[in-house]
Structure formats: structure tokens, C-alpha cells
Symmetry: C2
Subunit: 362 residues, 2 copies
Amino acid sequence: MANPRRSNPNKAASIYDVAQAARVSVFTVSAVVNKKSHVGKKLRERVEAAINELHYRPNLLARSLAKQRTNTIGMVVPDIANPFFPTVVRGAEDAAQKHGYNLLLCNSDDILEKEESALELLLSKRVDGILLTKTAQDFTPSMRRMIAEVNTPFVLLMRTYPKLTKDAVITDDYKGAYEAVCQLARAGHRRIGLMGGPLKVSNGKARWQGFRDALEVKGLAYDPELVMEGDYRIESGYRGGHSLLSRRPDGVYVANYLMTVGFLKAADEMGVRCPEDFGLVSFDDYPWLALFRPRLTTVELPKYQVGFEAVELLLEKIVAPRRQGVVRMLMPELRVRDSCGFRLHMEKSRSEGPVSGVNSES
Amino acid sequence: MANPRRSNPNKAASIYDVAQAARVSVFTVSAVVNKKSHVGKKLRERVEAAINELHYRPNLLARSLAKQRTNTIGMVVPDIANPFFPTVVRGAEDAAQKHGYNLLLCNSDDILEKEESALELLLSKRVDGILLTKTAQDFTPSMRRMIAEVNTPFVLLMRTYPKLTKDAVITDDYKGAYEAVCQLARAGHRRIGLMGGPLKVSNGKARWQGFRDALEVKGLAYDPELVMEGDYRIESGYRGGHSLLSRRPDGVYVANYLMTVGFLKAADEMGVRCPEDFGLVSFDDYPWLALFRPRLTTVELPKYQVGFEAVELLLEKIVAPRRQGVVRMLMPELRVRDSCGFRLHMEKSRSEGPVSGVNSES
DNA sequence: TTGTAGGCGTTATCAA
DNA sequence: TTGATAACGCCTACAA
């Protein structure tokens, strides 16, 4: 039986305390708080007075326990300090907020063990659904079992995973990479290299495939010597830059922002200039890229949208668990600036007509 | 009385289900799970078997309710999409993790109403402590009451707040600004302007004061015409840039990174060159600043440390609530590069001796 | 419209 | 060492 006595006065008031103070039952208090069931004006006012008097604040833990719903969404990202993710998280936050949900955030650092303990934690906290940007490594058997047993909905972000992907929100990385390389080709480059992401990650693979197919369509050679596999971090872009640039490509597609940062640092150290010595197209855009020299030609990814739509999709699944899986694919957008060497190219050969399908920034 | 029957088989197993399956009491299960109280080997093994069998995962909601502790820390930041905060959050995350705590994150957008509802939410979720980067606006009476009534420990981040500050982790912004302006003076600038933060925010004030005092020490005039008050966002730096640069300062201290981004965009549009036409010192450093032209002279703030130490301080308060308040102040670090015009200056006048107190980057 | 009491899944206090 | 059983604070049939 629950405690009907006024509890310790220097701790938060409970619904019982309010009920007692207002001389009503806990049901009435609950009804007032949740605006359910009509409560007579007189009692309602007494309850409201007591609530103010005692500074009553419903305990969401207890409510969640009783209702079997936490109104909380768990989110696992590789690293919130990677500038890509904050905007995704913000989009998710806003969508969650809009529907009365909150976000519980975890970092995996792209390490399987951390991913596992993060998921374990979120499930223990009984979140209503989970947003996951999968690590490069495969799930362990125990993780697979965990996900199968539990009936918490999952939505994958940015990366799909064959053994789990029913629902996901991703960007069309194949197309983005394809267009990036086409742009390099249009700018007159022939010996094009790739500073790519992990091939074990779906979007690393997709970007690589887009790169490859674009070369083929443009009648250019695919040279494995000119393909580097990185891990989306600055350091790998830096090392890859040194290796790749020593092989003298005249164009490079770098598959994410942080690697571009490392890559251009390497170029700087080697005294190789962009875009004079090689053209570059990057992935992902930020307001401050306007201050980079050269200004980067890049493929913008709708980060905020990804987070926002992922939450909306997840909430649909929470409401109607047995729906067909859906993968929502958001479109990237090529933004042509200086680093691809397009302007240089135009000066050299003015004979060609205008290029279509390109959004050139003012 | 709690339910001793095996509950609905397609929902998560409870401690009762485990107890029943292992033919022991819930106490025994609890003891095994928490490694408390010695449990005989035989029973322990039976319990462990049942746990595996049923995929039992303790419900942290129920545990928190019973223990009156959530092992969760609430954190309110203005905007996670502002590149300053992700690293702070990451530092907090790591510290929390280390002590078995988790982070619940909220954005206030520097809007008082959002701050209030965020705090309200965190308290309702019964977090064990709160990390707060205060909004520029004063607390409302109701917020003040809320904080006074509740006995949840608070630690302020980056910004102090006279009416609440007992415990805080901040950076020495006064000193940072002071050194920034000294550096501009050393680089030969005489007509120095300020693109500052909100004066209602403690660090906006401190940076302004540091600016002002440095001018005085250097024997330079303080001209209100050359002082702009922004809000730490790109747009305000952009607008302030247009206004300020039209008054032809030869040096500018910009009090945060995002405003620098806007400021330099304005300079670019106006055809005013940095560092040739004006020297600039910024606040805050990022790996990718290496790609900016000019390379920014800036005052680095120990973002990660701020988050990390704030959590450690908060946890101390959670353990020993009635401690004396402590404000921990972390030191900034001047990083001299090109934008302040120092190199230009050195070329002009080689007569001066070496400058001390400056960490010049390789 | 309002009240009663059982259940949500743990922990913790007393006994045995 | 184990087991009953009362909290923890809220929701919600079912009754009145």
C-alpha cells in the first residue's frame, strides 16, 4: 500500500502530499495534473492551490514506470565532437521536442564495445525508441540477440546495416560522390584520386562506388593506387593526403569534411597547391567554409533534415510498431566554388558551353 | 503487493520472473545482480542461468525510483549546433561516464522560456545534478523559487550568474581578451575595435573589460564608436563587421568564433583585407582554422576541460551537498598566427627585441 | 464526478 | 545466507 502520510518535508512533494493538502484523493490530483476526466471547479481550484503551495512537480520516473512509456528517445552517434553530428542531433532534438519527447545521447567513438554498452544503457532506461549511427564493425551475437529480443523500434542514421536495416534515414551518398567526381572531370581533371571512408561502412562503400562509376562514365581510368581508405577523421585524411598526393593526381574527391581538413594540411606541407596543382571536391558544407582558401567545392548533406526526419520516422514506428520498413533517402547538393579548379579550367578553355545541373553559389 | 505471476511473455522480464524461474526470492536476484550480500554459489548460478534465459535487464526507471537516484546529470546549453559546445559536452560526457553517470542534454537557444522548461524537465526527471550555461536574461521569480526549493545541485558553465553562482567552471575571459588586445597593440595597431558578446552575459562583460583595460595599459584610446555588441552568432558578427569596419579601425578583437566568421565575411564583401587593412584576433580555436586565410590569431579556450571539470565538481556536490561554493577558472592560451598582422609588423620594424609571453605556433 | 486499491520493477528493512 | 514485504510516486481500472 502506498504511503498516505505526509513525507519528509524537505524532499519533493508527492501526489499524496498534494491530495492530503487539498483534501481529495490522488485520483483527483492526477486528473487535474493531466487534464483528464472532468474535475469540478471547486476541487480543481483546491488542488491547484495545493500544487502551488507545495511546489509539486510530477515525478517522471514514476509516471514512466506506471505508463510503460518514457517519452524519451535514445540516440547513439560516433562522436558529438565531430562537427557533422551536432546539427543532426539538433534536428532530432527539435523533432522530438515537437512531439513531447526528449533525447538521451551517447557516443560510440565508432567502437563496438562502446556501442554495445550504449545500447544496453538505453534499453535499461527503457527509451521508447533508438536512433543509431552504426559502428563499422558487425554486431556481436549478443547484440544481435539483444536487438531481436527487445521490441524497441530502431531507426538507422546515415549508415545502413544489412542485418538490421528495415528503417533508416540516409543521404544519397552514391549520387553525391558521383556528382563530385563528375564535377572534377568537368573541370578538366583526368587523373582523379579518392580519399574515401571505411569500406565497411555503408556510406563509405556508396561514396566509393559513386566515385568509381563516375570515372567509368567519364571514360577515366580507375587506378587503385589513387584510392585511399580513411576513417572520416582528420588524422586519416592527413596521412592519406601524404600518400595520395605523392602519386600526383590532378583531382581528388575527399569523402568527408574532417578528412579534407587533414588532407589540405598535408598538401600544404608538401607544397602542393589547390586548385593549381590538383582540384578537390569535398563532402559536407559549413558556414565557415567561406573563410577557407581555396573556397571548397563541396557536396552538402542535409544534416538537420536527417536528424529531424529520423525522429519522425521513429515516432511513427513507436505508434504503429508493425509497419513495413522504410528507408528515407535525402538528396545532397553540389556546391561549386574554387577548389575543384573549375574557374581555372574555364579560363583555359572558353570554348565549351554552359554546364547544366550545377548549383553555383553567388 | 507486487505481482508474483509470470507477466506477459512478450514484454521484458522483471526481477519477479527471474526469481520465479530460479526458484528464489527477488532479494536473491537483486543481490546477484548488484553483487551485494553474499549469495551461495548454488543459488547464484541458478539465478544467473535464469537471467540469461529470460534476457533479464534491470529496469533503471524502477531502480531510480526506489533508490531516489538516477545517476543522470542534466545539461543545458544554448545550442549544441554552435561548434563551441560539442566539445564541452564531450568532456562532460566522458567525465560522467567515468563515474557511472549519464547526460541528459537540452538546448535553450539562449531563450529564457526554453531554459525554464528545460530545467523543469530535468527536475521532473529527477536528475542528480544540473550543468547550466545561463541565458543572458535574468531568472524569472518562478525560476528563482524553483531553484531555491529544490535541493538539486547546480554548476554553472562558462557564464556566471550573480544570483546563483556558488559553483561554476569558467575560463579566464578577462585575461584572454586582455592578451588578445595586447597582441594587437604589439602588432602595431592603434585604433582598435571590439566585436563583443552580450554585455548581460558574464563573459561578454569580462571580454569587454579585458579589452578596455588592455587599451588603457597600452595607452590607447577607448572609442565607444568602435565597440559593437553582438550575440555570439554569425549574423551579429556579420552586421557588426559592416558597421565597425566602416569606421576604419586598424585592429579588431572579435570575442567569439562564430562572430569572426560573420565578421570576415563582411570584410570580404567590403573589400577590406585582413591583415593588410586591419589586424584581427579571434576567440576559440579549431583544427580546421589552419585552412582559413588569413590564418587566425586566436585565444584558445579549453572547451573539453570545462565540461570535464564541471562534471567532477558537480559530482563532488552531489556527494557532499553542503560544501562551500567554488569557482574554477581555466586558463586560455594565445595562439599567434597571421590575422593579427604581427608578421607584417615585424617586416616593417625589425628594430624591436623578441616579444615574451607569446606562444607562437610552429 | 470522485475515491479505492492494485500494479509498474526495484531497493531495503526485518525476520527467519 | 535467504525470504517477505513495505516503500518509491504515479496511473488507472473498477466502484461508489
